[in-house]
Structure formats: structure tokens, C-alpha cells
């Protein structure tokens, strides 16, 4: 690698040993055939694991394919019926609405703010204490979902849950009374580590001299934050928000805690798809909803990327 970087090949004439009629147009000087050979394995992987499943999903989405029954053996093409049905289905609307609320409160607001506050306050802590807090936050992020789900069930259990013991509210069913709030708090707890790490790095890029100047001219904390810190980390904020929004939008872990219940009150889109496609066996409909979800993902991504470009 190091040897190659010495010579920017595009500006070099073609090697003397192999004179060419045309100068190489490619930067690496590989030639079309070899370049294609290098890219081929990656393209093949993308085709097999990304393009093909995506097209497959589109195809299943226009059939009435089911997991069992006659339609599993002989699915029929039903055109856009599945999409029409989804867009007119109150359960789907409800699910989409829940997902947006879930993303807004747990990722965009919750993880962002908590992650930022942690990163900012930790920078002033003693290193030992800081490492302890950081490790704890990271732990929530690292532990496997199934174990985490079990811990949260034990925490929120109605009869013998830790929370009920602490608050002396035995018999209070948190997951039934406040299901959405529960999984929002759960997701904030679960995902804050990423925002904290990203903001820790971002805050280090703010020049101390500027902070010092702000302090000298008597700027308040809020003013410093708004006029000195934020302009430096704007890009990080958008990148972070984009990533955690998409992750949260596609997150399936809440299923392990509430299974979408009670009565669909935590049935966010990934759970809705699982419940209709796998448990309910309606593969065709599930595929159609998956595609709708993919489109929403793209819209979110494009929205943030636009924002990112404008602000720069």
C-alpha cells in the first residue's frame, strides 16, 4: 500500500514496458479487465445477498404467497393488492405511527440528548470515574439482545419485578399500562452508548482556545454551546441522528420484551412484519410492507443527507 501511494498513478505515463496507444483512464492503471476482475467478487456478493433478496421481496410482495396452505404451493400474482391493503389498513397506520413516535422519542430526542449530555459531562470528570461510567453505558450496548430482554422483563415484571420492589408498587404491570413508554426508555438505555462515543470524539474537535475565549467574554453555558460548540459538531449531530434513526426504525429487540402487545400497542413496523409474515403466515403481505418500510428508510436517509449537504 505504502509503495503505491508514492506515485499518484493517474499523473504518471503508462509504464514503459507496456506501451499503450491510449493513456490509462483508470486511476489504479489496472485496465478494464483486471479492474472488473477485482470488483467482481464484491459485485457478486452484493448481487447475491442484496440485489437478489430485494428483487425477491418485490416479487413476493405482488403475490398472495403464504407460509402454509394452498397459496404456499401455488401463489398467485395479485398485483398491487397487498400495497393497497397495507395503505388502507388501520393496523398498519397504527404501527407506522407507533414507529415514528418510537424513533422520535427514543432515538432523535432520547439517545441524542442523553448521549450528548453524557459525553459533555464526562469530559470534566476524573478519568477513573469517567471510565467507570463509560463502561457501564457501553455494557448496555454490548450485551446480547436476548439477555437484555430477559433483564428488562425481570426489572418490569408485574409480581416480582425489581422496579416494583423498589417503588413498592407490587402488582403494577408497567408493560401493560405504559408499554410504549417502557420500550422507549428501554431503547434509550440500550442505544445511548453510540451517541455518547460519537459525541465524545466530536467534542474533542472543538478548539480549546475558542472555548477559553468564550469564557473570557463572559458567554453563558448555553451561549457557548450554541455559538462555539455546536457549529463544530453540526455534521456529527446529523450523522449520528441519521444512524440512530435508521437503527431504531429497524430495531426488532422490543419484540423480545412485549411481542408487540398488549393489543398491538408496541407493534412497531419490524414487529408488525414479523407478526403478519412469520407468525400469521402472510408472506406476500409482509413482503409488501417490508418494501414500504424500505422506502421510508430511504426517505429518512435522503432527508438527513440533504440537511447535511445544506449545512456544510
Amino acid at each position: 500500500m505504502a509503495q503505491k501511494t508514492e506515485l499518484p498513478p493517474a499523473e504518471q505515463p503508462a509504464p514503459a514496458a507496456k506501451p499503450r496507444s491510449k493513456p490509462a483512464t483508470d486511476v489504479a492503471g489496472l485496465g478494464r479487465g483486471r479492474a472488473a476482475a477485482f470488483v467482481a467478487p464484491a459485485m457478486a456478493l452484493i448481487a447475491v445477498f442484496l440485489v437478489f433478496p430485494a428483487l425477491w421481496t418485490i416479487y413476493i410482495g405482488i403475490t398472495n404467497y403464504r407460509l402454509t396452505g394452498v397459496q404456499a404451493r401455488e401463489p398467485e400474482v395479485v398485483g398491487v393488492d397487498n400495497y393497497v391493503r397495507a395503505l388502507g389498513d388501520p393496523t398498519f397506520h397504527n404501527s407506522l405511527f407507533l414507529t415514528l413516535i418510537f424513533v422520535l422519542f427514543s432515538a432523535v430526542i432520547g439517545q441524542n440528548l442523553l448521549g450528548f449530555s453524557l459525553a459533555r459531562s464526562l469530559s470534566t470528570l476524573r478519568p477513573v470515574l469517567r471510565r467507570v461510567v463509560e463502561s457501564l453505558v457501553l455494557l448496555a450496548w454490548i450485551i446480547p439482545s436476548s439477555i437484555v430482554a430477559f433483564l428488562w422483563l425481570a426489572l418490569l415484571d408485574r409480581d416480582a419485578g425489581t422496579l416494583n420492589v423498589l417503588l413498592q408498587t407490587s402488582g403494577f404491570a408497567w408493560l401493560i399500562e405504559y408499554p410504549l413508554v417502557s420500550i422507549i426508555i428501554f431503547n434509550i438505555w440500550r442505544g445511548t452508548a453510540f451517541s455518547m462515543l460519537l459525541y465524545s470524539a466530536a467534542l474533542a474537535s472543538v478548539p480549546p482556545s475558542q472555548l477559553e475565549t468564550a469564557r473570557l467574554v463572559g458567554a453563558s453555558r448555553w451561549q457557548t454551546l450554541r455559538d462555539v460548540v455546536f457549529p463544530h459538531i453540526r455534521g456529527h449531530v446529523l450523522t449520528n441522528t441519521l444512524l440512530i434513526s435508521l437503527w431504531t426504525f429497524n430495531d426488532f429487540t422490543p419484540f423480545l420484551i412485549t411481542a408487540g402487545g398488549p393489543n398491538g400497542r408496541t407493534e412497531i413496523l419490524p414487529v408488525y412484519i414479523y407478526n403478519t409474515a412469520i407468525t400469521g403466515g402472510q408472506m406476500g403481505y409482509g413482503a409488501a410492507v417490508s418494501l414500504i418500510m424500505l422506502v421510508i428508510n430511504l426517505i429518512i436517509a435522503v432527508f438527513y443527507l440533504r440537511l447535511l449537504r445544506e449545512r456544510r
Partner: protein, 470 residues
């Protein structure tokens, strides 16, 4: 740019060509004698049973009896057999998804446990085949068939063809806690004759602190348990089956459905039952644990509850003093004589069984193992000291006298029992019923829930033609 377009076009073309095969089951292996002469054979058994957990007795039986005995017997014949057990201990719906995917992809165990109500949809999907197509005519020659009553064989049949060997049957009764009944001044030998009498007993139990008088399975989280140990037994008590075989119609928004939902409304509206529990993801396990802890008065369950849940040593929620404390009584019709066939008491029966995976490498040996598992000796070994209505009449008559619960189910309950329709669409109707009970439990009036249920049934059947409503 043009190249990109061409690339996309080619990729799309290839993908579409490949997708053309969706659904069309790959050409099945049709040689029933394949692998019959092999001297090294590997067979796998899959069941929703796990040692130390769900259906532990079955799991232990497979691991400690079936596998060693079968392997030894085959060894004597010079065949080196390895039998593996794929255990699961999950909700029935999850197990169903798993084996559907297994069978769909031509993988999975050679012998697979299946609930009887899944046979129709699995058969229609081509995931399972009639036994004669997998194994050949030797199936008809098995002497075990004459020991299995037709009604029980129907559990594992579809369109009059046998797809598997049934593994026994069951019945639904009301279990009640005699100690709580004594505290509430209710008779220890309780025999309610109408829904009203059930409610009266529940109201009497309401006076005891910290006790849920009656827990009636409801909601979608419990899955089929809601339908089979809740809605359907009540429905047959109103005089209608969920599916009328003669008329070919399903129950829609009828008075009978509204009566059943009305009963739910009374139970949960008056807080005779705990509505929160019915919404919890682990609600059924909790109802087991609470009954075992003596905080639920009355629970409608199958005999499974008696032999696998509160069983003193191996149950998932063991009750050491089960035999003294727990009473069981038949489920009354809504009013005396209002049940199907003008019965005073009603029940629902079901049962699962084992099928052969059509993709098995060794159909003959798999069938041999399956018949071994359903032999009289193996069946007696399975039930051990427990109580259970087996699929075999010879075994039943041998052990019937010993156990009060078993003889009660066999003599008093099963003759009154109704069965679920073996149609592929049934599971969707079942989910609609579960949703209707959930709606009522969470406060929707029965009329509204029944109307919503009717819509769901119409969606499942693709129209209102085959639906009874009034």
C-alpha cells in the same frame, strides 16, 4: 450510463428468472424404497418438548427410552442407526413457524411433531404428504391402526388421507382449587350446570383477598390456548360449532358468538378475572404459576394442565399437593341442554401427532421408528405413572382403571367432545376469535367486537358467502 442500465437489466432478468420458481415445490423424491438397504442410518426426531421444561415427560421419553431401545433393536439387525432429538420448548406458534420453514426448504427432522390443526394447511402447502406416498403401502399393514379410534385418527388426517400417527387425545374441563372453595363456602365436589353457576361461584371467591376467582383464557398472546381453552368450549355450550360441516358455514357475528363474548365481558368486566394477565406476553405461564400458587380459583384447561403443568414432580408449575387440592369438573353448557346435540355438558378435543418429513433420506427406517414410538410398549412407557388418554385403545383399557383423572376424561368428557375443523383456513379464524376476546377484555362491548370479528372472518375467507350471522 448505458452500461449501468444494461447491468441493471441483466441482473433484474436473472433475478426474475430465479424468482419464477416461488412456491412450486421442488420435485419430490418419489422412490419410497430409497435408503432402505443402508447399514448406516441417521434419523432425527423433532418435537416441541425439552427436558426440564415444556413437555418434559415426552422429551425424557424420547431421549431415555425411544432412542436407546430403537438403536439397540436395530443393532441386533445389523443396522447402525443414530437417532438425534431436536428439542424445542417454545410457544406453539413459534414452533409452527420453525417447522414450516424447515419443511419448506426440504430440511428438518425426519419425524416431526405437529398439532392436528396444522395438518390441513401443511398438507395444502405440500410440506407433508400422505403416509402411503412417503413410505408406500406398508403403512396400511401396520397393526397399530386398529387400536386407534377413527375420531383420533382424524386429528392427523386431511381429505380422508392419513398424514401422520396421532399421539393421543384430550379433553377440556374446569379445574378448581378445593381449598379456596372451602374458604368461600363452596362445595368441594363442585358440579356447575350452567354459566350462571360458574359466575356465582366466582363471585363467592371474589371475597377472598389476593385471589383471582376465575381466569378464562383470552387474547392473542396465548394463541391457540385462547381458542381451545376458552372460546370454542364456550361456543359449543351455546349449541353451535365454529364450523358447521353440513352447511359449510363458519360462525360470524351470531348470537352464539355474542353470548360467548358476553361471558368474557362479565368475567373481566366484574373483575372476576384478571384482564391484565391476558395481555401479558407470558400470560399463560403466569396463569399456570398463579394457579399452582393457589391464587386462582377456577381455570379452564385441558388434561394437559393436570399431567404436565401442575404434575407434582415434573410439571412446569408443580403442585406438591395436587391430588388433594385440585378438583376437576365438566364444563356446563350455557344452560342445561343448550349445548351441541342438546348436551348439558360440553368439551373440545384435539391432539397432535407425528408426521414423516417427505424429504427424509430413509423413509422405511423413519416409518419403522414412528411405529416403534407408537407401539403399545412405548406408549405405556411414555405415560409412566401419569394420567393421559393415549391414542391406543389397548393401552387405554389397560391403564384406565388406575387413574381417576384419565378415566374421568375418557368416560365423562371425550364422549361429549367436539373437534376443530381440519381446514387450512381454521388458524386464521382462530386468530380472529382471539382478537375478539382481547377486544372485550380491554373494554370493547361484545356487539362491537363480534362485528369486528365478522370482518376478520370475511377477510380470511375472501367473502361473506360461507359465514353465518344474525
Amino acid at each position: 450510463m448505458r452500461r449501468t442500465v444494461r447491468l441493471i437489466a441483466v441482473t433484474t432478468g436473472l433475478a426474475l428468472a430465479a424468482t419464477g420458481c416461488l412456491g412450486g415445490t421442488s420435485e419430490e423424491q418419489t422412490d419410497t424404497e430409497r435408503g432402505a438397504e443402508a447399514t448406516e442410518v441417521t434419523l432425527t426426531i423433532a418435537a416441541n418438548a425439552v427436558s426440564g421444561g415444556k413437555n418434559a415427560e415426552e422429551a425424557d421419553w424420547i431421549e431415555n427410552y425411544v432412542i436407546p431401545e430403537f438403536v439397540a433393536a436395530q443393532e441386533a439387525e445389523g443396522v447402525d442407526v443414530t437417532v438425534e432429538f431436536q428439542s424445542s420448548g417454545v410457544d406453539d406458534e413459534d414452533y409452527k413457524s420453525k417447522i414450516a420453514l424447515d419443511l419448506r426448504t426440504g430440511s428438518g427432522a425426519d419425524i416431526v411433531s405437529l398439532d392436528g390443526i396444522w395438518v390441513g394447511e401443511f398438507a395444502e402447502a405440500g410440506y407433508i404428504l400422505p403416509l402411503t406416498e412417503v413410505v408406500g403401502d406398508t403403512v396400511e399393514e401396520w397393526d397399530g391402526w386398529e387400536q386407534i379410534p377413527d375420531a383420533v385418527q382424524a386429528n392427523m388426517s386431511f381429505n380422508d388421507e392419513r398424514y401422520g400417527v396421532p399421539a393421543g387425545s384430550d379433553g377440556r374441563v374446569l379445574f378448581y382449587n378445593k381449598e379456596l372453595f372451602a374458604q368461600a363456602g363452596l362445595p368441594e365436589d363442585w358440579q356447575p350446570t350452567s354459566w350462571t353457576e360458574i359466575l356465582d361461584a366466582a363471585r363467592a371467591l371474589q371475597g377472598i383477598d389476593g385471589v383471582t376467582p376465575i381466569q378464562l383464557n383470552a387474547g392473542t398472546a396465548m394463541g391457540e390456548a385462547t381458542t381451545m381453552q376458552g372460546v370454542l368450549p364456550l361456543l359449543v355450550g351455546t349449541g353451535e360449532r365454529i364450523y358447521d360441516e353440513d352447511g359449510g358455514t363458519w360462525q360470524g357475528n351470531t348470537q352464539n358468538i355474542r353470548d360467548v363474548l358476553g361471558f368474557y365481558q362479565t368475567v373481566y368486566g366484574e373483575e372476576l378475572g384478571d384482564p391484565t394477565l391476558q395481555q401479558e406476553a407470558q400470560g399463560r405461564d403466569k396463569s399456570f404459576a398463579e394457579f399452582a400458587a393457589g391464587t386462582i380459583g377456577i381455570l379452564m384447561e385441558g388434561d394437559y394442565f393436570w399431567r404436565s403443568v401442575i404434575e407434582p414432580t415434573q410439571g412446569v408449575a408443580p403442585m406438591a399437593n395436587r391430588d388433594e387440592v385440585v378438583g376437576f369438573t365438566r364444563l356446563p353448557a350455557m344452560e342445561p341442554g343448550s349445548g351441541i346435540e342438546e348436551q348439558d355438558f360440553v368439551s373440545m378435543s384435539g391432539g397432535g401427532g407425528r408426521v414423516l418429513n417427505p424429504a427424509t433420506e430413509f423413509p422405511q427406517q423413519a416409518w419403522e421408528l414412528l411405529t416403534f414410538m407408537n407401539s403399545a410398549d412405548a406408549t405405556i412407557e411414555l405415560i409412566g405413572d401419569g394420567a393421559r388418554l393415549t391414542q391406543r385403545e389397548d393401552v387405554n383399557s389397560e391403564i384406565l382403571a388406575d387413574d381417576p383423572m384419565l378415566s374421568f376424561i375418557a368416560e365423562e368428557v371425550v364422549p361429549l367432545s367436539a373437534y376443530r375443523p381440519g381446514l387450512a383456513v381454521y388458524p386464521q379464524i382462530s386468530v380472529a376469535l382471539q382478537q375478539a376476546t382481547l377486544d372485550v377484555v380491554t373494554g370493547m362491548p361484545p356487539e362491537e367486537a363480534a362485528a369486528k370479528y365478522q370482518q376478520a372472518v370475511e377477510a380470511a375467507l375472501g367473502g361473506a358467502d360461507d359465514i353465518a350471522s344474525d
